[in-house]
């Protein structure tokens, strides 16, 4: 394909900047938790421990080494999946977190799937029948939904679909290890609660972009070649209108993975949120560090993927950008 080499260079460049971003973020996270008051050794042993024992433990944990040495040790251990030991439970952070990750990730991804599946057809329909009944109705509903935060729509959904229509059992979470279908079924409504405001925003954005793009000169050219309305819409306008939407969806996905923490609380889902909140209040820093790094990594990787997809659909993006 023409310009294939060009694409690889772009991807490589974006990849390198992704890695650099990750390193910088990890440095920030590490430093932040190092300047926070409180001695991990004291935290592990309790305030009554003798100074000698504390000193021994500090030495054993490597806390007396220079900051940079400790950072690299932490960073490379991290890369190998060793996230340290929880202060509160004295077990490895990995064993605490690993089983929770699929739950939170599934919740976020389901919400993203809903966002894409609902908002793109709705965006196209509302733009195609601009100012029609459907368009007007959806515009009003959108305004309302955008104003409702997910935790509140979560409570409403629990009440309406859980308690009145009994479509799911509130609090009746089923683990993915027991019954994957039941697990997905339970996550359906929570992910809907996360998705709703994003759906509203995406529909509004896509509709506006489609209408703008339809008025551009190239759309008129497309009509002049004998395209019908659908031809102009799907073959010409949609791709142009999707470019900013893809950036938005990328940010929305990252936001939804992070945003699922609140919804997990509302729907009583034993994902990352519960352990994150308890670790924060117990100052169990290794656990918090690991989770923050996990979320940061997801966000950064998504941004990288968005950049790559962007390059594929918008040929005007050059390496210099």
């Amino acid at each position: 394909m023409f310009g294939g080499e060009y694409d690889m260079k772009y991807t490589l460049k974006k990849f390198i900047s992704t890695v650099v971003t990750l390193v910088v973020v990890s440095l920030c996270v590490f430093l932040a938790f190092n300047v926070l008051p409180g001695d991990p050794a004291v935290r592990m042993l309790g305030l009554e421990a003798s100074p000698e024992l504390i000193e021994q433990t500090r030495e054993r944990m490597g806390l007396n080494d220079p900051l940079l040495v400790r950072y690299f040790r932490w960073f490379f251990a991290f890369l190998q999946g060793d996230f340290g030991t929880s202060y509160s439970y004295s077990v490895s952070v990995a064993s605490l977190v690993v089983k929770k990750i699929p739950i939170t990730l599934t919740l976020g991804l389901l919400a993203f799937l809903f966002t894409v599946l609902i908002s793109i057809p709705l965006g196209i329909l509302t733009a195609k029948y601009e100012n029609g009944i459907l368009d007007r109705t959806i515009t009003v509903i959108n305004q309302v939904i955008m104003a409702i935060p997910p935790f509140f729509s979560g409570i409403l959904i629990t009440f309406v679909f859980g308690m009145i229509f009994k479509l799911f059992t509130p609090g009746g979470f089923i683990s993915y290890t027991d019954d994957f279908g039941g697990f997905l079924k339970y996550l359906f409504f929570p992910s809907l609660a996360i998705a709703l405001p994003k759906v509203a925003m995406t529909v509004k954005m896509l509709r506006g972009n489609l209408i703008d793009e339809s008025g551009k000169d190239y759309a008129r050219t497309a009509y002049s070649r004998g395209n019908n309305t659908n031809g102009v819409l799907y073959r010409h306008v949609l791709k142009n209108a999707m470019i900013p939407v893809i950036t938005f969806l990328g940010m929305a996905l990252a936001d939804m993975v992070a945003g699922s923490i609140v919804i997990e609380q509302v729907f009583n889902i034993p994902g990352i949120s519960r352990i994150l909140l308890s670790s924060i209040s117990n100052r169990d820093y290794p656990v918090v560090e690991a989770i923050i790094m996990g979320i940061a990594t997801i966000v950064i990787v998504i941004n990288f993927l968005v950049d790559v997809i962007y390059r594929i659909i918008d040929p005007r993006i050059s390496i210099e950008d």
Partner: protein
């Protein structure tokens, strides 16, 4: 010379505001096979509106059109939309003033040039379509047509993009090519090249051309016959040379006077 397009009594009215605005009044045009007709006038004279109406591109509800645009025994103003679309890009093509924005920025040049064939002649195989597109890109004077085929619009200059527009407009061998101020956005040397190209295509393929411009000297280089428009009305029409040497209407005289003197040195 057979008449291929017959426009009579074309009225175009805009109904966007409370009082309807007339854009074109009593517009008549007979276009012969292989003929080049110029429409001249300042902006707001209704020349582009008439052209867009002939190209079937004034389809908003707020625009009312009356009169007749007869092509192939059909009135383009009243015929079925599917019939109109079957002509668009295949029998009647149009190129615009803004080559920078008239191409789709996210589609390859080849794809865009081939589009009329894909729509109107789906029986043509992919390979042949590509060959014809590359040949057409060569015909409009683009060097390295095989490479241009894979490029995107932003990689080309304004003049090259206008050539691409012409290639896409001409690929179906249309009866009529409408050129709506095709050189206004281009610099003078490129202007002359595009005019030469249109002349060449007219001569070689026998395509009739409606050439719209505010520049009377440009029209005189290209057209045998010219229609002068002002404020939605035709004020003068006739042989280009006759109008140039013996303008009857004051407005035409003003347009001729507006041509830089250097061109009248002969």
């Amino acid at each position: 010379m057979g008449i291929i397009l017959d426009v009579t009594d074309l009225h175009i009215e805009f109904h966007d505001s409370s009082t309807p605005e007339t854009a074109v009044e009593d517009f008549d045009l007979m276009l012969g096979k292989g003929e080049i007709v110029g429409i001249v006038g300042e902006s707001g004279s209704g020349k582009s509106m008439s052209a867009l109406a002939i190209a079937g591109l004034l389809n908003r509800h707020a625009i009312r059109k009356t009169g007749r645009i007869m092509f192939r025994g059909q009135d383009l103003l009243t015929c079925d939309r599917a019939v109109l679309r079957s002509f668009q890009g295949d029998e009647i093509s149009i190129i615009f003033q803004e080559p920078m924005t008239s191409l789709n920025p996210v589609k390859r040049i080849g794809w865009q040039v081939e589009e009329p064939l894909r729509i109107h002649h789906p029986e043509i195989k992919k390979k042949e379509r590509k060959e014809r597109a590359i040949a057409m890109l060569g015909d409009v004077g683009l060097e390295h047509a095989e490479e241009v085929y894979y490029m995107y619009p932003h990689e080309l200059s304004g003049g090259m993009r206008q050539r691409v527009m012409i290639a896409a407009a001409m690929i179906g061998n249309p009866q009529i090519l409408i050129a709506d101020e095709p050189t206004t956005a281009l610099d003078v040397t490129v202007q002359a090249q595009i005019v030469d190209l249109l002349k060449k295509l007219n001569r070689e393929k026998g395509t009739s051309i409606i050439f719209i411009s505010h520049d009377l000297s440009l029209v005189s280089q290209l057209c045998e016959r010219v229609i002068v428009m002002q404020k939605g009305n035709i004020v003068e029409t006739g042989d280009t040379e006759a109008i140039f040497t013996r303008p009857r209407h004051n407005y035409t005289k003003k347009l001729i006077a507006a041509i830089p003197k250097i061109d009248l040195g002969e």
